[in-house]
């Protein structure tokens, strides 16, 4: 598959139909694997890396899951193409910085992506919409079992799968869910929730993983421990925690609707107003405001079918997506902001104003209410 058709096709996970999709945007499981008898990519010489790459790429490409896949050496991709892959969460930012000696293979549906010579020889991940950690793990486990018949994995009887970084040794597995928590943010409970999650050994991160900022009320929650617990237990624990977070978020939303409809409507209304009328919009501002529109759909202020439009906007207004869809060669940041605002305005023309009939709109005190 060519990169152009990869970019133009809608990925399966962009469809918002996964379980608990209103709060859980996507589920991801990744496994790190290395070949025995070879240095890890970060320490390997270029020739070693090239040799390792040619050992791994053919069996990866011949996986049944990879029929019609997109496969490319990193040096064949432009900086922009790499960035689009990052924005789609198909490669890591670290992998995007790689060149000769590394490769990426992505299946047609864009649910399975395998990075070769990232930090480890193999980084494979399954990404699915909604809360589907178990499914994602099972799908990836199958791929891993198929590959282990063809590749000699570095495995230690006590330590399990050996990885370049000791934080991944053991299962080599990192499972994560991307959750949208505007209710907990608006009700100022988010820090408590994050602290509680950290306390039980799980990590909370921003949109693009390690070291990234939380934007658009989106958070990535993942396991930290990879040694001493079987994969299924790690997944089950994470799943349980995510289910609790979903409950907390739903409660927070209900309380906002009942007790603080003013705050809620103000955020959704301002988001709608600014997005509909702005002529320059940074990606961060767009994401933060679109988050409130998404919440507006979830709570019935906008018709449910508008969710797809919002999710589309969230994707296409990211910097690299914007550039790759632009006719012009290279947009300046200012031009990007103008184009972004324009795309959003066009899309929101078809939006009705928020339907507030279901909530009690707070009114300023009047004489009548005083007499009551």
């Amino acid at each position: 598959m060519k990169i152009s058709s990869l970019f133009s096709s809608n990925s399966e996970r962009a469809r918002n139909d996964g379980p608990h999709h209103q709060i859980v945007v996507s589920s991801r499981v990744r496994l790190a694997r290395n070949l025995s008898g070879h240095p890890f990519p970060g320490w390997a010489k270029k020739n070693d890396r090239l040799q390792i790459l040619e050992l791994i790429k053919p069996p990866v490409e011949s996986l049944p899951e990879m029929e019609g896949a997109f496969s490319s050496y990193l040096q064949e991709l432009s900086a922009l193409e790499k960035q689009v892959l990052v924005e789609r969460h198909l490669i890591s930012r670290e992998h995007a910085a790689k060149s000769a000696g590394s490769a990426v293979v992505v299946n047609k549906e864009q649910t399975l992506s395998i990075m070769i010579n990232e930090e480890d020889h193999l980084r494979m991940q399954v990404l699915q919409p909604g809360l589907q950690l178990r499914n994602a793990f099972q799908a990836l486990d199958k791929v891993d079992s198929a590959l282990e018949t063809k590749l000699d994995y570095a495995f230690h009887p006590q330590l399990g799968y050996l990885t370049a970084c000791p934080t991944n040794v053991g299962t080599g597995m990192r499972a994560s869910a991307m959750v949208h928590l505007p209710g907990l943010v608006l009700s100022e409970q988010i820090n408590q929730v994050i602290q509680a999650i950290n306390k039980i050994g799980l990590a909370v991160r921003g949109l693009y993983g390690e070291g990234t900022e939380a934007m658009g009320n989106l958070f990535q929650i993942s396991n930290q421990i990879t040694l001493g617990e079987p994969e299924e237990e790690i997944i089950a624990q994470l799943n349980k925690v995510i289910e609790r977070i979903i409950e907390n978020e739903e409660n927070a939303r209900q309380i906002l609707v009942q007790k603080r409809p003013g705050t809620l409507l103000d955020n959704i209304g301002r988001g709608f107003g600014i997005l509909s009328h702005a002529y320059a919009m940074s990606s961060k501002e767009a994401l933060n405001l679109l988050s409130f529109l998404k919440l507006g759909v979830d709570l019935g202020f906008f018709p449910p079918e508008k969710q797809n439009d919002i999710d589309d906007l969230i994707t296409v207004t990211q910097p690299a997506h914007l550039q790759s869809n632009a006719s012009q060669q290279k947009l300046t940041p200012e031009e990007r902001d103008t184009l972004r605002a324009q795309i959003i305005r066009e899309k929101l023309k078809a939006f009705p104003i928020p339907n507030t009939s279901k909530v009690v709109i707070p009114r300023p005190p009047t004489e009548e209410t005083h007499h009551e």
């Binding site: 970060g42 330590l159 934080t167 050994g201 990590a203």
Partner: protein, 161 residues
């Protein structure tokens, strides 16, 4: 409780780390923790800091081996990158890594998936060890009848592998 850094503000961030097998606690106020980059839990996780903190101390401590025989990696390289050089490094630097792994993962024995190919050899290895142990015991107890049976089983096992 006052902040350990500025000693003026009330501490609101409580950080606990296990370094060198010892629990270390740091109490910080909002401002100081922000300065140290630990308040934002979104970008901060204890484990992320470990390669920078505990790792060096652990691996440096009393390691007789300076270079990995397989890849030439050194402790200094680990200190710099927080990554190891090759799979053999885990054995080369085993002593120092033990404490680090315990601090990171709390446990040090893998209990998850095992490649099918190795599953058999690992199981056979464990079985062989057990038989050898029983045989030694039987011989020591002068239970020769039992020892003969165990010896035959051990031979059979070695034949099949």
């Amino acid at each position: 409780m006052l902040c350990d850094v500025c000693k003026t503000n009330q501490a609101t961030v409580f950080l606990t780390q296990i370094v060198d097998g010892k629990m270390q606690k740091v109490n910080l106020c909002e401002a100081c923790s922000k300065e140290k980059g630990v308040t934002d839990p979104l970008s901060f996780a204890l484990v992320d800091l470990l390669p920078g903190l505990g790792a060096e101390a652990e691996v440096e401590k009393g390691e007789p081996v300076q270079h990995c025989p397989a890849c030439g990696f050194t402790q200094a390289d680990f200190k710099k990158t927080g990554r190891l050089g090759c799979p053999v490094c885990y054995d080369t630097f085993a002593e120092g890594l033990g404490g680090l792994l315990k601090a990171m993962h709390r446990r040090t024995i893998h209990t998850g998936k095992v490649p099918a190919r190795l599953k058999r050899s690992i199981e056979l290895g464990a079985r062989r060890k057990q038989l050898q142990h029983d045989l030694d015991k039987a011989v020591a107890e002068e239970n020769y009848e039992n020892a003969a049976v165990l010896r035959d089983q051990l031979r059979e096992l070695e034949h099949t592998t």
